[in-house]
């Protein structure tokens, strides 16, 4: 299955810088992020770390850079085992990480941010010395950054360069970059790669976390693929093909269903994925019509670029793709949380962009948000109180003098609990006492009760156990069968494939392709998710 053995034999000859053995990481809420991952890191090497969302890439590097402790396993260097209890210790050892969400203090200048991580407590701030050193480093590395502007005012690409300089200034031997190119222009990406190659020549090790197949092919020497927390493959770049990598990343369909069947047998009664999918033809009218939509992200970059599509009644339209390619911004624009910069979107003909969330509700849009705790629920509230959020002014819940008809509300909630199998002690249970799955069922139930024309579900099964996730998916199918339009955004490719009638693959703000799930093989899908365009994939 992988060539790890052969690669390791070679590495032993050359020597290694660091080695992670049997790393397992289980979070306090039970999520298994990593399962017995073993990895070797060599000097003079750029290692690509590839995988989908939730594969465990960030967790692994956080463990290597001292931000998180492993639950099991160890990290060893040629001098013996190493253990970091803080990022500073890792830095002292020579491991530096450039995070995806920069660890920079916005109001500081680049020089001040770099000075922050240096080890000279409480004495005078030798900003002049730091500046000089930075300027030297900028010469060496070719990274140019304005040194005296508050970092928050810099363009994202420049901010990232500050992060890199900050880490480089500590003389690291292992440089870890987490999805560095997601915020860079193509020119900046080239410049970054030039720098990385130069560092490699100097003997440093580099780990590049990415989901972009083209990039990983162009700059790395070796590629490690993680899938669902496990090591899926360790190949030399020269010998890897995009197809192979894609397959390693997303796995074989057969294998996946087999694994799921096993997990299901241990918990809920199994629901055969095949039986769940009903591929009847639907021919509803267009409910959601989007044209030329462009949306800016918080970082002022354009997250959604010129998007046009329709979602019809009685279909599930899925948007697949690795997170961070504009999906969140798209959903926010359609649900009233973000103003788009241009474009048109209508629900059954009525304009929906730029309106208040409540108006959008009235137009028939229901939203299952990707962040349940921030947007979907008021956690200290009871089930019943959460169930009426958004519809508290409905005639059936509101009596004379604005009094709430708790009896009716509780009855409504009990019906929801019945229909959707929400496990809780009663309508008066606090929402935070519910499991993630039951919370999500509550939200879905609530949204459905609005009898919407379209349901926008964003990562609806994230963080749920298999049983709950399957339940939600069946709900979505049921809704579709009842003629509703459903827009499903999910980073879980299997989910999209299993549920959707039509799907789009989103990459860097655009749809790479819009197809029926059966039309493309997994491999091609993996390629498209990694940014390799359709014609190149052929």
């Amino acid at each position: 299955m992988n060539e790890a053995g052969e690669t390791r034999k070679k590495a032993d000859k050359d020597g290694y810088f660091l080695r992670a053995e049997g790393i397992t990481k289980v979070y306090s809420d039970g999520t298994v992020a990593l399962k017995k991952v073993t990895l070797e890191i060599h000097p003079h090497e750029i290692l690509g770390l590839l995988g989908e969302n939730g594969a465990g890439k960030t967790t692994l590097t956080k463990i290597l850079s001292g931000l998180l402790p492993p639950t099991q396993g160890r990290v060893i260097s040629p001098h013996g085992p190493v253990k970091f209890s803080s990022p500073r210790e890792a830095l002292d050892f020579g491991i530096g990480m450039v995070h995806q969400h920069f660890a920079l203090v916005g109001t500081f200048t680049a020089a001040e941010n770099v000075a922050l991580s240096h080890r000279r407590p409480f004495t005078r701030l030798h900003l002049a010395t730091t500046r000089k050193r930075l300027e030297e480093m900028m010469e060496e590395s070719g990274l140019r950054v304005p040194l005296d502007v508050p970092v928050e005012k810099l363009a994202v690409g420049e901010q990232q360069r500050v992060e890199v300089l900050k880490v480089l200034s500590r003389d690291v031997n292992l440089l870890i970059l987490d999805e560095p190119t997601s915020v860079l222009t193509p020119l900046e990406v080239d410049e970054l790669f030039v720098l990385l190659r130069r560092l490699r020549e100097a003997g440093k090790s580099i780990i590049l976390i990415t989901h972009k197949l083209k990039e990983v092919g162009s700059v790395t020497d070796r590629i490690v693929v993680l899938r669902h927390g496990e090591m899926a493959g360790d190949v030399r770049t020269a010998e890897a093909t995009s197809e192979r990598l894609a397959r390693l990343m997303v796995g074989e369909t057969v294998e996946l269903i087999g694994k799921k069947a096993v997990e299901l047998a241990e918990g809920e009664p199994a629901r055969d994925e095949g039986a769940v999918r009903q591929t009847a033809q639907r021919a509803g009218a267009s409910v959601l019509h989007v044209e030329g939509l462009a949306v800016k992200a918080d970082t002022r970059e354009i997250a959604v670029k010129d998007l046009s599509f329709d979602v019809y009644g009685g279909e599930i339209f899925g948007i697949a793709g690795v997170e961070g390619n504009g999906q969140s911004e798209l959903v926010e624009a359609l649900t009233g949380l973000r103003k788009p910069t241009q474009g048109v979107a209508t629900i059954n003909g009525t304009d929906v962009l730029g309106k208040d969330p409540r108006e959008i509700y009235r137009l028939g849009v229901a939203h299952v948000p990707e962040d349940r705790w921030k947007l979907g629920l008021v956690l200290p509230f009871t089930l019943a109180e959460n169930a009426i959020l958004g519809v508290q002014r409905w005639k059936e819940f509101r009596g004379p003098l604005s009094f709430l008809r708790w009896r009716k509300i509780n009855q409504h909630v009990r019906e929801l609990m019945d229909r959707f199998g929400i496990q809780a002690t009663g309508p008066g249970a606090p929402a935070k006492s519910l499991s993630g799955g039951n919370q999500q069922k509550l939200i879905v139930g609530r949204e459905l009760a609005k009898d919407p024309a379209i349901v926008i579900a964003s990562q609806p099964t994230r963080g749920l156990d298999i049983g709950a996730a399957q339940y939600i998916r069946n709900l979505l199918l049921e809704m579709r069968d009842n003629g509703r339009a459903i827009l499903l955004v999910s980073a879980d490719l299997d989910e999209v494939l299993a549920l959707c009638d039509r799907m789009a693959i989103m990459y860097e703000g655009r749809f790479m392709v819009v197809v029926r799930p059966g039309e493309l093989g997994r491999e091609k899908i993996g390629l498209l998710m990694g940014g390799v365009a359709a014609k190149e994939a052929a």
Binding site: S86, P87, F102, A103, F108, E112, L116, S117, R120
Partner: protein, 296 residues
């Protein structure tokens, strides 16, 4: 013209507790903790200053005031860093406690409601040809500059700002955010304690249950005005001190009987309100102010 020196000197005296407390709170808020218990610290330390002065003279009074202020600051910061408490409620608790404690303490000292500092316990003022000045005024003039230099030019100041603005980045850089906040707020307590002890030991010379007269909150308003710049804190403190002195001065003006004294007494508070309303929105506070820091 003869009024000028009078007003000026009273303003200088009045500004001391405001400036000291405000600069202390500036340091604390820069690191991320919002302490509304300043009023309580001022009151408690005004009282403790009297206690100390009676026992060991003015120096003892001032030192004890600083010590108690630091202690209260320490308790406040422990509750709100390591114990992840609620900063507002803690501050309210400190204020309530101070009200009771000082009233209680005054009774214990034998004279409920009022206690004067004996002449031996008063800090000797500096005499100038146009009036007398408390030496602490000079402390209050210098401290803002020191604080400004500290925040701007030392690495410790940088660390403080990082802890208050983006504690996650500070954590990644290896900084113990809770410890930094604790030290900053304790130090803020020390300064406020000095301000409180000053009131009784050096300025007014006595202590009552209400001696702090809302100065703790005016100091908070000064902090808002300063935008966390200690030099502006000095200016703000002087402005508010000026309006306080104005109240006293107006009473001596001919024709002042026409304005009821109660309205004159309101001036400092109304001015504070106007200043805060006008200035707010233009100043920027640390993003993590008021939030306890939890890693990951």
């Amino acid at each position: 013209m003869k009024y000028f020196w009078g007003i000026f000197f009273i303003s200088l005296h009045a500004m001391v507790p405001l400036v000291l407390t405000a600069v202390g709170e500036i340091i604390g808020e820069t690191a991320g903790l919002f302490n509304i218990g300043l009023e309580g610290i001022l009151l408690t330390c005004a009282f403790m200053g009297v206690v100390g002065a009676k026992m060991g003279g003015p120096a003892a009074g001032l030192l004890i005031g600083m010590g108690i202020g630091g202690l209260i600051g320490l308790i406040f910061s422990i509750i709100n860093t390591y114990w992840k408490g609620n900063q507002m409620i803690t501050g309210i608790g400190v204020n309530l406690f101070a009200l009771g404690f000082v009233a209680f303490g005054l009774i214990m000292l034998g004279s409920p409601g009022f206690q004067a500092v004996p002449a031996s316990g008063r800090l000797a003022p500096i005499q100038t040809p146009v009036g007398s000045l408390s030496p602490i005024i000079f402390v209050a003039l210098v401290v803002p500059f020191l604080a400004h230099w500290f925040l701007k030019r030392t690495r410790a100041g940088l660390i403080l700002k990082a802890a208050g603005e983006t504690p996650e980045a500070a954590d990644v850089a290896g900084i113990n955010v809770n410890l930094v906040r604790l030290l900053a707020t304790t130090f803020g307590g020390v300064l406020a304690g000095l301000g409180g002890a000053y009131i009784s030991v050096s300025w007014i010379g006595s202590v009552t249950k209400e001696i702090s007269a809302g100065r703790g909150f005016i100091a908070l308003a000064t902090v808002v005005f300063s935008g966390l710049n200690p030099l502006l804190g000095l200016l703000g403190g002087f402005i508010f001190g000026f309006f306080e002195s104005l109240a006293t001065w107006i009473r001596n003006l001919p024709g002042s009987k026409a304005i009821p004294w109660q309205f004159i007494a309101m001036i400092p508070y109304v001015v504070t309100l106007l200043v805060v309303a006008g200035v707010v929105g233009r100043v920027r506070f640390p993003k993590a102010l008021g939030e306890p820091y939890k890693r990951e």
